[in-house]
């Protein structure tokens, strides 16, 4: 057990970029402790009693928003959900004004999702409230990265590994538009894993090798070879019938994860997906429902614990020892 003092001093969680190995470990350890709460009869601790958390979502989201809401409530915080439809942004107010108004009500944490990259960094530059990034554009989605890393960590013994070092993680699909891919790549790289970006060349970030220290593969078979973790990304429908991709049929044919293709990966490889899943497009049902491979529901459970940990650490981080 580690004995170091203040391992968490950050005010915001804006992304995985810049998080140290130790900070990631603190977050994961706290999440592990909190998992127990979610298994109890009475799934609630009084830790954040009297704290106010605002969930501000400018993009449709059911699972992430619910996960944060439940995380706050299980820690006894008051959680308020605001979605774009009910906010005044639609009335022409600037984003900064909207947030300044919320800040005036003195919330302890604002959890925010926004369709544009960098919005949380922008707000953090102008506001005092603690911010949690629940996804900004194609930039980052740090709690998803953390929950994925926690899920992988849980499976390290089964993969016969004692650390992330040398672990091969293949992140497959629409990497270009994926904040999940970015957060995972940054976090996993800092823990020592080997990360592959696997996807069509039209859906790959420019100079991804240099930007993220990953290897890039444009054939799924090549990307899967020997991988310990296969992380499939959701393919958004609006990418179809565009210059990015000609059709669902072609994508499923070349990029869909089937049981046959999965045989190319490590024999014990686990399969992950951030959801929501397009069965039969990026991943076949037989893989999704394979209890030996798919850890998708564990990801969801870990998501709750990770978000509880994040809220706990941020709510207390205003205190300097």
């Amino acid at each position: 057990m580690r004995t170091a003092g203040n391992l968490w001093t950050r005010k915001h969680l804006l992304g995985m970029a810049g998080l140290s190995k130790e900070e990631i470990a603190t977050l994961l350890d706290t999440a592990v402790s909190l998992r127990e709460v979610n298994r109890r009869e009475i799934k609630k601790v009084p830790t954040l009693r009297g704290k106010t958390i605002i969930n501000l979502f400018f993009e449709n989201s059911t699972r992430t928003r619910t996960s944060f809401e439940l995380a706050g409530k299980r820690m006894s915080a008051d959680v308020i959900n605001m979605s774009v439809a009910s906010s005044s942004v639609q009335k022409g107010e600037t984003l900064l004004d909207t947030l300044a108004n919320l800040q005036a009500m003195n919330p302890d944490v604002v959890v925010m999702r926004h369709p544009e990259s960098g919005v949380l960094q922008f707000l953090a530059n102008h506001l005092n409230t603690a911010l949690v990034n629940a996804g900004d554009g194609r930039h980052e989605h740090p709690t998803q990265g953390l929950l994925d890393i926690l899920t992988i960590q849980d499976h390290l013994p089964l993969l016969e590994r004692d650390s992330f070092s040398g672990l091969v993680v293949a992140i497959c699909g629409d990497v270009l538009h994926s904040r999940v891919a970015r957060s995972n790549a940054l976090g996993l790289k800092s823990l020592g894993a080997e990360v592959r970006f696997v996807g069509p060349s039209t859906l790959m970030p420019n100079q991804a090798e240099e930007a993220f220290g990953v290897t890039v593969h444009h054939r799924l078979e090549e990307g899967l070879a020997g991988a310990h973790v296969v992380m499939m990304l959701r393919l958004q429908n609006e990418r179809m019938n565009s210059p990015y991709l000609p059709s669902v049929r072609e994508y499923a044919e070349f990029w869909g994860l089937t049981r046959n293709r999965l045989r190319l990966a490590d024999p014990k490889a686990i399969v992950m997906h951030p959801g929501p899943i397009n069965r039969g497009v990026e991943i076949s049902s037989e893989v999704v429902d394979d209890p030996d491979r798919s850890v998708i529901l564990e990801q969801v459970a870990n998501g709750l614990a990770v978000r509880m940990a994040v809220l706990y650490l941020l709510c207390g981080s205003g205190v300097r020892r």
Binding site: M1, R2, T3, A4, G5, N6, L7, W8, T26, D29, T30, V32, S33, L34, E36, V37, R40, E41, I42, K44, V45, P46, T47, L48, M75, Y312, L313, C315, G316, S317, G318, V319, R320, R321
Partner: protein
């Protein structure tokens, strides 16, 4: 934690272990060894508060089981998420895992901690405990009572009573097998 000055040894390792053994013996004599109309041995549960209380509880439980010739259930409680000082001290960077697999409804709980000071830890532990069920009775056992209570909480079983000032810290120091109790003056 501020800079620690030279520790004064209150209980050596062997004294600490002997004290726990003595507590076990006394418990057996006063409680578990007697025919109790309210509780059979099987109704008792030992619960240690992480981290120091858990160390004491493990040793104590071991000795108790020996004496009663029965496996008493044991559990561990981390009270981090029940503390009332998040705003003053901040988050605890090292959170232990709570491990209460048994049903505690109608049980007789022996709550074990290492050092009793303000009583806040015990309050938090009781809150935590009651989120798991409704025990019949809770008794508190502490290795050391150092005084300085801020809440109306008193132990039922005490190993050692020490007078300590507010500027002092009484600690169970765990160095592997070597468990000792020290008095540390805070700078």
């Amino acid at each position: 934690m501020s800079v620690a000055f030279a520790d004064e040894l209150l209980l050596t390792s062997s004294e600490t272990l002997a004290l726990i053994d003595a507590l076990a013996a006394r418990l057996h004599a006063d409680r578990l060894g007697l025919p109790d109309p309210q509780a059979r041995v099987g109704d008792w549960v030992v619960i240690g508060i992480r981290r120091g209380g858990a160390l004491v509880a493990e040793r104590l439980w071991d000795r108790l089981c020996e004496r009663v010739q029965e496996k008493i259930p044991i559990g561990f409680l981390d009270i981090t998420f029940y503390r009332d000082d998040l705003d003053t001290i901040g988050p605890n960077p090292v959170v232990g895992e709570t491990d209460l697999r048994m049903d505690i409804d109608h049980k007789h709980i022996l709550l074990v901690d290492d050092v009793l000071f303000t009583g806040r830890t015990i309050r938090a532990a009781m809150n935590a405990l009651f989120d798991y069920g409704r025990p019949e009775r809770v008794e508190l056992l502490v290795l050391v009572d150092r005084g300085g209570r801020q809440l109306p909480i008193q132990p039922d079983h005490v190993g050692l009573v020490v007078q300590a000032g507010m500027g002092e810290c009484i600690k169970l120091v765990d160095k592997g097998e070597n468990v000792q109790v020290v008095r540390r003056k805070l700078g």
